[in-house]
Symmetry: C2
Subunit: 316 residues, 2 copies
């Protein structure tokens, strides 16, 4: 897929991946509604297969390949949810997935990728190591690269989240989406732009890694600062394709503090009884901390994933 996905491309992605993914439920909470003074609809991608929305994009990318192209497998360098998702997605068609991961990756992440059948190739912890090793893997195996976000097949797959949510809750005023590399928000913004352009699309980003916030304002990509965040799914800089879509289709990007993320995460765990990872709590943090004015509206919030190491909780 070499063009920006149009509505038909996203619908086609949904038909393609529907047999393999969950139609995740939408959860609500009186208490959230009270605190936010709005009607809040949480799209539970933490209950998605492999524990995150990433399986949507990964599956679409894998299903777009013909048998010949797929025969040598797929490869990526994400050590997080995309690595696990691509491993699972490749397995749907019996193809190998090569996942380049730093030797320093947590045991939980290694176990997840292995559990879904991915083949791990270790690299050093420098970003340049990762890229170098990935290029070698691609050359050696002939595997096809499936980038974690800057790939139109992946973006179209992530956009199916919005089609599903609109089907479940037709009359939204706004949707809040976490922003890392930008695959999820650009897919959602594309889908909504076609189907329901009046819905405001707001990105929420940890202030410590606010590349999307800064880039959105500057009109050009400003790399992620070194601040870091407990939202380990959001540490990457937006890509050329995702930023292009974000800059034209997203209505606003706001930032939240680390303490607000932890508080929102605890709130979701204790009040909604749902395990979400820190990245997934970021939009709720924006809502509860008043960074977004949603009062009186109908607000979609994407709980992007639920993969968290119970021995490394941020409030320990």
């Amino acid at each position: 897929m070499t063009d920006i996905p149009d509505l038909e491309a996203i619908r086609q992605a949904h038909r393609r991946i529907a047999p393999y993914i969950h139609r995740t439920p939408v959860m609500t909470s009186r208490l959230v509604d009270e605190w936010a003074a709005a009607s809040v609809f949480c799209k539970c991608e933490n209950l998605q297969r492999a524990g995150a929305f990433k399986i949507r994009g990964a599956t679409n990318a894998v299903m777009c390949l013909d048998d010949d192209a797929l025969s040598r497998g797929v490869a990526t360098h994400s050590s997080g949810n995309h690595g696990a998702a691509l491993s699972l997605a490749a397995g749907f068609r019996g193809a190998p997935a090569y996942i380049v991961m730093p030797e320093t990756a947590s045991k939980a992440k290694l176990t997840a990728v292995e559990g879904y059948g991915g083949r791990i190739i270790h690299c050093g912890s420098e970003p340049t190591d990762r890229q170098r090793v990935l290029e070698r893997v691609l050359a050696d195996t002939g595997a096809r690269l499936v980038h974690p976000f800057d790939d139109y097949r992946v973006i179209a797959g992530q956009g199916t989240t919005a089609l599903e949510l609109l089907d479940q809750v037709p009359d939204l005023d706004m949707i809040l989406v976490p922003v890392g590399g930008g695959g999820l928000i650009s897919g959602i913004a594309l889908a909504l732009g076609h189907v329901r352009p009046a819905v405001r699309v707001i990105g929420v980003e940890p202030r410590g890694v606010d590349d999307a916030y800064r880039s959105f304002r500057a009109g050009r990509i400003i790399p992620v600062p070194d601040g870091g965040s407990i939202a380990d799914g959001l540490l990457t800089t937006v890509g050329a394709r995702t930023f292009d879509i974000i800059s034209r289709r997203v209505d606003d990007i706001v930032t939240v503090e680390e303490s607000e993320i932890v508080e929102a995460m605890r709130f979701i765990w204790t009040r909604m009884k749902l395990v979400v990872e820190p990245s997934a709590a970021v939009p709720m943090a924006g809502l509860l901390a008043g960074k977004v004015d949603a009062s009186g509206g109908r607000v979609g919030v994407v709980f992007s994933g639920g993969n968290v190491d119970l021995d490394q909780l941020p409030w320990r």
Copy 2:
């Protein structure tokens, strides 16, 4: 209600409480099914109002009182989920709820009861203090006692869990239920005995507090041993009414170890992304540890509650 609830009483309870409670979802997991070699249907009472099935029985008891009887409020001595549930249920009709709680109760429990509008009356930490203070409260206020489990209105209310589950998953072979005071399992056993007597009802209990297991085998109530358990909702001895129903209607009771409870709880959190409290993980522990032979069957599992203190997790 002075008779053992019949089917109509449980159906009536359901009609009475339906406007106030959630029809909780049933969740499934491929991984659970693989591990248990069965089709497992988890009734998510952790997503119930006030975070546990207890609101069913408490609401039914409150709704059974006429305005005059209710005008002086309701009272109980449960410091756990029943205390919070009774506070919320009384509030549905604008009545006061007096909750006798030991001074040593955790801040989380005090906050929950207060949050639902309950009036806390402190007592010492001895079981006799609790009873003495409760009797004084009943005498002073004229409030009606709503016992946490040994009350037919409460038992009928808890039995609605089974009616709902059967409506959601009609063809169950077996249901696994945690056993504390026995209100939930006796209500469920009564409901199923009428509607679908072929469904086996199995209680699961922590071995450290296996009064129901021992009593079931002995044919008379044997008080809970001092062993203790992290399943803090299951520390009580079965009551006269609940044991009478259990001994006639329940098919079996099995026990699980503390380590099996912690493992099941972690499994549910990490794999199903659901926050359940230790007591709620007990039936899954029985299943995953092979204490119940469910192979090939369709098994209901009640996730009884999700109220847990995130600062006191059992794997810290």
